[in-house]
């Protein structure tokens, strides 16, 4: 026994709807364009797979094809609608509709987890792949280009450069990269490493230093950046974030760009801190390997800390070195554990240091 229902049918030929008879079975919806069901008259049949339900405040429509041209409007009092709704939904499983049934809070949580996961995944994977693909040789070429671009706007102290270079050559700083030192005229307390082995030391910091082991600490710290390929890592990381923002997510919604931007800022902060800590650690290992007392690292940091108090802004070494106090503490602990080692004097380094200070 089939149950005949009255619905309004839009036939896709003319805009106005017409009252028709319909019933539904296991497979689909049957419609006859007449007031009373007449077994002799022609019947339209629609498969559930092609149907789609649309609920609006105050009305429910079932579209009978994917083109949106034919549909029926279900009367609001229809008690049989849930049964039909189940049939249509059963034939139209989609991941979207499953997810859409979740609570908003669950969806928000899921979105956050997936975004965070993807963000971390991509910002880790791309740098990893990049580090494997880019050889140290290519990195040196790249670094040379950065270096040329940088020095073109600076004044080089060439005699100090030669002296500091021979000072550095007395030390074993890097196995892979040729360490090339440049001393630049600048009052600021600053020094930095470029990918591939170039290290730039500002004359300001050279003037502030008292002992040769401070310079060894500085060179060891910067060489650790070179050996750890830190600038390359940072470039790859920001490239990965850039790709993430522009290609994968940008157009979905304005929300995402904002989220990623904020996440990236936090990440960069903690990232640069962890990079500096590892450069300190590896730098002190290098000092040990060269037979120099790692206590020099702490002395170096104290210079920066003093400068921090005097000149609060505009010092790049400091702004990228956030937590000076905790780093000093760490350097202190490291030196303390190696207190008992007796370090042999290095007269050749000392004499080069004296030349440098004159």
């Amino acid at each position: 026994m089939k149950h005949i229902h009255k619905v309004i049918f839009f036939d896709g030929l003319q805009a106005g709807g017409q009252a028709v008879s319909m019933y539904f079975s296991e497979t689909g919806i049957f419609i006859q364009q007449s007031d009373e069901w007449d077994a002799d008259k022609s019947v339209l049949f629609f498969l559930y797979e092609d149907c789609r339900i649309q609920s609006l405040p105050g009305s429910r429509n079932i579209f009978l094809n994917r083109r949106g041209t034919q549909y029926i409007v279900i009367p609001p009092e229809a008690s049989w609608f849930p049964a039909l709704q189940m049939m249509v939904n059963k034939a139209n499983h989609s991941v979207f509709s499953k997810l859409f049934q979740l609570k908003t809070a669950v969806l928000v949580a899921l979105t956050v987890v997936i975004l965070a996961g993807t963000y971390l995944g991509i910002t880790r994977l791309i740098p990893l792949a990049g580090l494997r693909l880019i050889t140290p040789e290519y990195e040196m070429q790249l670094g040379d280009r950065f270096y040329k671009a940088f020095v073109s706007g600076e004044t080089i102290d060439s005699s100090k450069t030669v002296q500091l270079q021979s000072f550095a050559q007395k030390l074993q700083l890097s196995k892979t990269y040729p360490i090339k030192i440049t001393v630049v005229e600048n009052k600021e307390l600053n020094a930095f490493a470029m990918p591939g082995g170039n290290i730039v030391v500002y004359s300001g910091i050279l003037r502030t230093m008292k002992e040769p082991d401070e310079m060894v600490a500085l060179l060891s710290h910067e060489s650790a950046h070179v050996n750890g390929r830190h600038s390359l890592r940072a470039v790859l990381r920001s490239a990965a974030t850039g790709i993430l923002i522009s290609v994968v997510l940008n157009d979905v919604s304005g929300i995402l760009a904002v989220l990623i931007d904020n996440a990236d800022m936090l990440q960069s902060l903690s990232y640069s801190r962890s990079i500096e800590e590892s450069a300190d650690e590896n730098g002190m290992q290098t000092m040990l390997a060269n037979g120099i007392d790692p206590a020099g690292m702490k002395k170096l940091m104290l210079h920066f800390k003093a400068a921090e108090a005097e000149m609060p802004a505009g010092i790049s070494f400091l702004s990228s070195h956030p937590d000076t106090d905790s780093r000093i503490k760490h350097a202190d602990q490291f030196a303390a554990t190696h207190k008992n080692i007796s370090f042999v004097p290095k007269p050749s380094l000392d004499s080069l240091w004296l030349q440098l200070k004159h």
Partner: protein, 314 residues
């Protein structure tokens, strides 16, 4: 003939649209962006479906797979352009390369507008009746190139005329069943509107901006009409400058204080605003609209327009 007043109402709500966006984001991220066309179809589907005219909703029947195919084609085309440009640059033919590139761009932009209009309207139905866009591809390209050329040599002064010519051409070719839209805005009036708006906004330190927006909106809406045989329907707007101030200021605050998370609510509010302030009056009997426009499923233009990010503007 009976004279009637009609309104479109928007019944969407921000929370539901927000949920759609969330699901879209999840799926888009998990598929490394490949879900994007399906996500777009879902969003459009929702926004169209919540727009109701005469008790019947609009329907967007475009699908993700159509737009995905279009996306692949548009992407291949774009790649081809850049490859050509690169080849020219590497062979020291910079001038030729750049000229070729801008030449192509000048061709691709109108073609993608044309394509997106064809696709978007063929996939829009109301009451089972399909919309359609019947403009001629090359006529629009000619109009576009002429407009860009004249705008450049007049240092932009021609641009209001260009915009109105374009709008007239596009809207006059939109159909719904056997009824056709028309637009009668002209460049000279639009130019004066822009001039007045610009100076008064500067003079009033920006306060006039909202009234300027109201005048522009009115100029777009009030010049539109729909005709079928000898029946006509006029579009009217009753939004005031104050209404616009409310809309824009609240939207801005919502955006700022939620760091953009309120975007779905802003979209819903804006659509609601536009539809609430639009009235149609005239003699067309909408129940008698006949199906006359054909289907069209090539979404290349639609996706190309997405790449250029000039969206879909009426």
């Amino acid at each position: 003939m009976e004279y009637n007043k009609y309104r479109i109402s928007f019944q969407g709500n921000g929370l539901e649209y927000f949920k759609i966006q969330l699901v879209n984001i999840i799926l888009t991220v998990l598929t490394l962006g490949l879900y994007y066309p399906w996500a777009k179809a879902r969003s459009l589907n929702y926004l169209y479906g919540q727009s109701v005219f005469e008790g019947q909703p609009f329907v967007f029947s475009g699908t993700g797979s159509e737009m995905f195919k279009g996306f692949i084609k548009a992407f291949a085309l774009l790649l081809l352009f850049y490859a050509t440009l690169l080849v020219c640059l590497l062979n020291k033919a910079e001038v030729a390369g750049v000229l070729l590139f801008y030449g192509c761009l000048l061709l691709v932009m109108p073609l993608s507008i044309h394509g997106s209009y064809r696709y978007r309207f063929a996939k829009t139905t109301w009451s089972g009746i399909r919309f359609g866009y019947t403009g001629n591809k090359w006529a629009f390209v000619r109009l576009f190139i002429k407009g860009v050329f004249l705008s450049i040599i007049t240092l932009g002064i021609y641009s209001p005329w260009f915009q109105m010519n374009m709008r007239r051409y596009l809207i006059c070719n939109i159909r719904v069943g056997n009824a056709r839209f028309a637009y009668k805005g002209v460049g000279s009036e639009y130019f004066l509107l822009m001039l007045k708006g610009y100076f008064l906004t500067a003079l009033t330190l920006g306060i006039y901006f909202f009234w300027w927006q109201k005048e522009l909106f009115a100029y777009y809406v009030d010049n539109m009409r729909l005709t079928k045989d000898d029946e006509t329907m006029l579009f009217r707007t009753n939004a005031t400058g104050g209404d616009f101030a409310g809309l824009i200021i609240v939207n801005l605050l919502l955006f700022i204080f939620t760091l953009g998370l309120a975007t779905p609510w802003i979209v819903v509010r804006s659509l609601d605003f536009v539809m609430q302030h639009m009235v149609l009056d005239g003699t067309i009997e909408f129940d008698l609209l006949r199906q006359e426009q054909s289907d069209y499923s090539d979404a290349t233009g639609e996706d190309m327009a997405d790449f250029f990010d000039f969206g879909f503007v009426i």
